[in-house]
């Protein structure tokens, strides 16, 4: 479904990604783990069109999307939940969700998707008239995910959905990620919480200072000594 082929990405003169390749197949949950500053978010931003790769290519369903405008990529079915949620705090929950469906014109189906999102996150329904900035951290994360679902993505890019959340909420969020996947949405998940990420993923890539250093199935990486030491706290 998605094929990233040895891309190089720069911030000014600083190279953030060095020949990164990865593949996401239809229906999978693929996770990308790595430390702070390893280039995980950079990779997601490049896929969703916020950054342009200098070298290499990104193929989505067989056609190149590298360097295309973000709106074109959203339209083709890739939705990106950014790090730090980035909800529109000055707008209501409902308006945030509406913006998620910005490019869609099928009013009836948008209405159905509203119901789906509210079904998935009953809390959002209760607070639909409230300003998004007044929500708790966990609710904001739910809103960020709900908002991206309103675009009806076939591929969902999730950047650190567990960041700053209490352990119980982290579990809820991961359960929801699995649920979204079970409805047929493919997921590329970036996480620092490697333990949780590997528990839901089919396959995983480990990224260090802008390079993919390891990849395999989630079980393989879970068992790998290198991963245990560096990301799973040694047990």
């Amino acid at each position: 479904m998605l094929k990233v082929e040895s891309i190089d990405v720069f911030y000014g003169n600083i190279q953030a990604l060095k020949g990164v390749s990865l593949e996401v197949k239809n229906g999978e949950i693929v996770t990308l783990i790595g430390a702070n500053g390893a280039g995980k978010s950079t990779l997601l931003k490049t896929i969703s069109g916020l950054l342009k790769p200098k070298q290499g290519d990104i193929l989505y369903e067989g056609t190149s999307i590298a360097g295309k405008a973000a709106q074109t990529i959203v339209k083709q079915g890739i939705s990106h939940v950014p790090e730090g949620r980035r909800i529109f705090a000055n707008m209501t929950v409902e308006e945030n969700l509406e913006l998620g469906a910005f490019l869609r014109k099928d009013k009836q189906e948008i209405q159905q998707d509203f119901e789906k999102v509210y079904h998935l996150f009953p809390r959002l329904y209760e607070r639909r008239k409230q300003l998004a900035g007044t929500l708790s951290g966990g609710e904001q994360q739910m809103l960020a995910i709900g908002r991206s679902l309103m675009a009806r993505p076939r591929l969902l890019l999730l950047d650190e959905p567990s960041m700053g959340l209490a352990p119980l909420l982290v579990k809820t969020i991961f359960r929801i990620i699995e649920e979204i996947n079970s409805f047929g949405t493919t997921i590329l998940l970036v996480e620092q919480n490697a333990h949780m990420a590997l528990s839901v993923a089919d396959r995983a890539y480990v990224i260090e200072s802008g390079r993919v250093v390891l990849s395999g199935t989630a079980q393989e990486l879970n068992a790998s000594e290198q991963v245990k030491k560096a990301y799973l706290g040694g047990h």
Binding site: A70, Q71, K75, P82, A89, N90, L99, F102, G137
Partner: protein, 292 residues
């Protein structure tokens, strides 16, 4: 009764400030730029209205509409030509460019038509004195106030209920997140300039009718006053610009009414200084803290 009279004058003047201040505040909200050329867009609107009335003999509303459309186009051109290439430049570079654009429009207008002032014909709007509860009100000020209020309600509707308005609010809050929703940020910024400039154009026509005399440098002082009004209300906040404009107009009229008309402009800038000292975010502003 004298007081109420001054209040009415103040509200009419204030609604002109508010219309201009809205453009400042909307543009600032979305690109964090004080568009110093905005007062000159107001001036161009005034001249377009003047020529429409005197050369093409159209009525008030067609002239108003023509001025608004011309200014919207002018605003988009300014943004595309002068500001868009500087999207990632330092703020000071953009600010200096804005001042350059302002001077270009002012002296470009003088170059094209000369510096001589013009007088708006007094026949554009009926000028009758209406007595309400012992207060004489000019029918023009009532109509001006009515038009301003309708435009402000229309703006609120656009910003809150339409798709482009929601896109504008999203971009002003977080442009990158807005791009992830599929919003075209460049087009949204252009739309903001178009709407803000159209309001300035309307203000130009209204100003011409109210004060009669227009000239190519007329935009400078009302432009600065409107900027004060926008800061007073809290720059970037739309209701703030409306309230700030009205307050400034009322305060100025009261100062004149008390017999200190020479102090009028001074008072506006004293207010700016006081606001910057005691409430830098403006009356409606608050220090926004984000949850992480």
């Amino acid at each position: 009764m004298e007081l109420i009279q001054q209040l009415v004058n103040g509200i009419s003047l204030g609604s002109i400030y508010a219309l201009i201040a809205l453009g400042y505040t909307m543009v600032y909200g979305i690109v964090r730029l004080i568009n110093f050329a905005h007062g000159d867009v107001f001036m161009i609107g005034s001249f377009v209205g003047f020529y429409a009335v005197t050369s093409f003999h159209v009525g008030f509303f067609p002239a108003l509409l023509l001025a608004m459309v011309s200014c919207a186009i002018l605003g988009v051109c300014i943004e595309r030509i002068a500001y868009k290439p500087l999207r990632n430049a330092t703020r000071i570079a953009v600010l200096i460019t804005a001042i350059g654009v302002s001077l270009l429009i002012e002296y470009g207008t003088i170059y094209l038509r000369g510096a001589q002032p013009e007088a708006y014909p007094s026949t554009v709007l009926p000028d009758k004195k209406i007595e309400v509860l012992g207060v004489t009100v000019n029918s023009q000020s009532l109509l001006i106030l009515g038009v301003s209020i309708v435009l402000m309600i229309l703006l609120q509707f656009i910003v809150h209920k339409t798709k482009i308005g929601k896109a504008m609010r999203a971009v002003s809050h977080d442009a990158e997140a807005a791009r992830l929703m599929g919003i075209n940020v460049d087009n949204t910024i252009s739309a903001t300039f178009a709407i803000g400039s159209a309001l300035a154009g309307a203000a130009g026509v209204i100003f011409g009718i109210y004060y009669t005399k227009i000239d190519p440098l007329m935009g400078i002082i009302p432009g600065l006053k409107a900027f004060v009004a926008a800061v007073l209300g809290g720059i970037g906040i739309i209701p703030g610009a409306m309230v700030g404009g009205l307050m400034l107009g009322v305060i100025e009229s009261l100062v004149s009414g008390l017999g200190y008309s020479l102090w009028r402009d001074g008072v506006a800038f004293i207010i700016l200084i006081l606001i910057l000292i005691f409430r830098p975010a403006g009356l409606f502003g608050k220090n926004v803290r984000e949850k992480v």
